[in-house]
């Protein structure tokens, strides 16, 4: 029982990070039709900025995590907004070139991070109370898992409220369905593109920060490894669906943990790919079709 509880909560923690990455990726593709392979770089840059600012600030791990994390998230949002304005915007209507640019950018930013901070992983500031454990049904669960799950749940609620109850959310939901018709109602949909890209960058950077807490270190390959599973989550959840991404992220995180423990170590990734294959055969549009909600 205790093992199952530990696996479940750890899987939810992992799913929380997948959700944060996937939600931005999903909105960006759903609204703009941009398959953003540079999204992983936003995760890495966010995590490294949080670590670097934390180092500059000094003080306790809690302060470094909080302030460094906030600056890392802001940096991720700014970087993503600039990428949309300078590199993606001139290429709307040219999807192949957009994909090539995002792939090139992912490689360039990864190399830049390594060039500045080296290839070795860096210890991430994690407050001691997050490293401590809480006993639930006999399982000693690290407290950081609850933080990751709580932050993702708050983001899910916040994004849902934003999409449902704000004018801008309405524009995004409509744009996911039919961009041209949104323009034909007199709405500058390109402004929405920049803001959604920046929002996606902020969420990716937040995932980078939480992954630093989860793993205790940041490394240059972090973004790429999270991005692969985030893409799977987006395909399973349905492009443009925040709720679909949340359900798929939880499913992927849990399946990975259960398969790795109950089958054999390393089968978690295989199980997730099998889930994706089955879903693509049965329901190619994903759990939720292309409607942002």
């Amino acid at each position: 029982m205790s093992t199952f509880v530990l696996l479940t909560i750890t899987g939810l923690g992992l799913g929380a990070m997948y959700f944060l990455v996937a939600s931005g990726l999903s909105l960006i593709y759903g609204l703009m039709g941009v398959l953003n392979f540079a999204h992983g770089a936003f995760i890495t840059v966010g995590a490294y900025l949080a670590w670097w600012f934390g180092e500059q600030i000094g003080g306790g791990a809690g302060v470094r995590l909080l302030v460094g994390g906030a600056l890392g998230i802001a940096g991720g949002a700014l970087l993503a907004g600039l990428v949309e304005l300078c590199l993606i915007r001139p290429l709307y209507g040219r999807p192949i070139e957009q994909v090539l640019v995002t792939v090139g950018l992912a490689l360039a930013l990864g190399a830049l991070v390594q060039g500045i901070w080296g290839a070795d992983s860096k210890p991430f500031p994690v407050p001691s109370w997050m490293i401590d454990t809480t006993t639930i049904f006999g399982a000693n669960v690290p407290n950081d898992r609850f933080v990751e799950i709580g932050v993702a749940a708050a983001v899910l609620l916040g994004l849902t409220a934003f999409l449902r109850h704000t004018r801008f959310g309405l524009v995004i939901r409509a744009g996911v369905e039919n961009r041209a018709m949104v323009s034909a109602l007199g709405i500058d949909v390109r402004r929405a593109f920049t803001i959604v890209f920046a929002l996606g960058g902020a969420l990716a950077a937040l995932a980078g920060v939480l992954s630093g807490v989860y793993f205790g270190v940041v490394d240059p390959g972090r973004g790429t490894s999270l991005l692969i599973f985030a893409f799977i989550v987006v395909v399973i959840g349905g492009f443009g669906s925040i709720g679909g991404s949340a359900v798929a992220a939880v499913a992927v995180g849990l399946i990975q943990q259960y398969a790795n423990y109950y089958a054999s170590s390393g089968t978690g990734d295989l199980a997730v790919v099998l889930l994706l294959a089955v879903l693509l055969l049965v329901r190619p549009s994903g759990l939720a079709p292309k409607v942002a909600h």
Binding site: R173, A174, N178, M181, A184
Partner: protein, 235 residues
């Protein structure tokens, strides 16, 4: 009579196809001008090109004398152009009320007018537009365009696929709208054209082949048959 819309030497290429081959026509202010022609002659492309939804290769589009050719779609619309697309294009995942709210501009939305024209929409405000019938979706599409005070409405085949009873309702709504603004109407149903249109512009193979008063064209069945390939008086 002043001119609401002036189109001059407008060319549009879609892929390899030269769809509009230098069309020029004026739409007088007030009332309905019908844009007619056989299937595939470029009527819908004309409306989409006026809005900038398809790229214009050459030509000038002027709204009450203002050149709007180089403006993006949302900027053209903000100059006072409403659009009812051929396939309604309501946002299926949004409620009726959200579809209308999205169309609001400048804070002067005319909900009284649209609910007066289509009282059913008020009753179905909370219903997702994707679950509405074709006729109800058409009401939403027209209501979105009427919600704001526009200088020009571009309306693309509003009666397409509708039952006869609903066609009458849509025609009545167009007549009411025409009292408030200028309408450029693409319509295949000549009974509707006969009822609402003052002028006609006829396209054939991407060119303007006839302009003039609607009643003159529709009173000449041979001319209608030659230009449109149908018998006058509707089909």
């Amino acid at each position: 009579m002043s001119t609401a819309l002036s189109v001059s030497d407008l060319h549009v290429h879609l892929g390899e196809s030269h769809v509009l081959q230098g069309i020029s026509f004026d739409v007088p202010a007030g009332g309905v001008t019908a844009l007619l022609g056989r299937n595939g002659v470029g009527k819908t492309t004309t409306l989409r090109a006026l809005l900038g939804l398809v790229p214009r290769t050459r030509g000038v589009v002027a709204l009450e004398g203002d050149d709007v050719t180089r403006l993006s779609t949302h900027a053209v619309v903000r100059r006072g152009v409403g659009y009812v697309p051929e396939d309604r294009d309501v946002f299926a995942g949004l409620t009726v009320e959200e579809n209308l709210r999205l169309a609001e501009r400048n804070g002067h939305a005319r909900y009284d007018l649209v609910y007066d024209l289509f009282p059913e929409l008020r009753e179905r405000a909370g219903q997702r537009a994707g679950t509405l019938s074709g006729g109800q979706q058409q009401m939403v599409a027209i209501a979105r365009a009427l919600l704001n005070e526009n200088r020009l409405l571009l309306v693309d085949e509003p009666t397409k696929g509708l039952a006869p009873a609903l066609v009458t309702g849509v025609a009545a709504a167009l007549e009411r709208a025409a009292e408030l603004t200028t309408i450029l109407l693409v319509e295949q149903n000549l009974r509707v054209v006969q009822r609402v249109a003052r002028d006609v512009v006829v396209l054939d193979a991407g060119r303007v082949v006839h302009t003039g008063p609607a009643h003159e064209l529709l009173a000449d069945p041979d001319h209608v048959r030659r230009l449109l390939g149908v018998h006058g008086g509707g089909h």
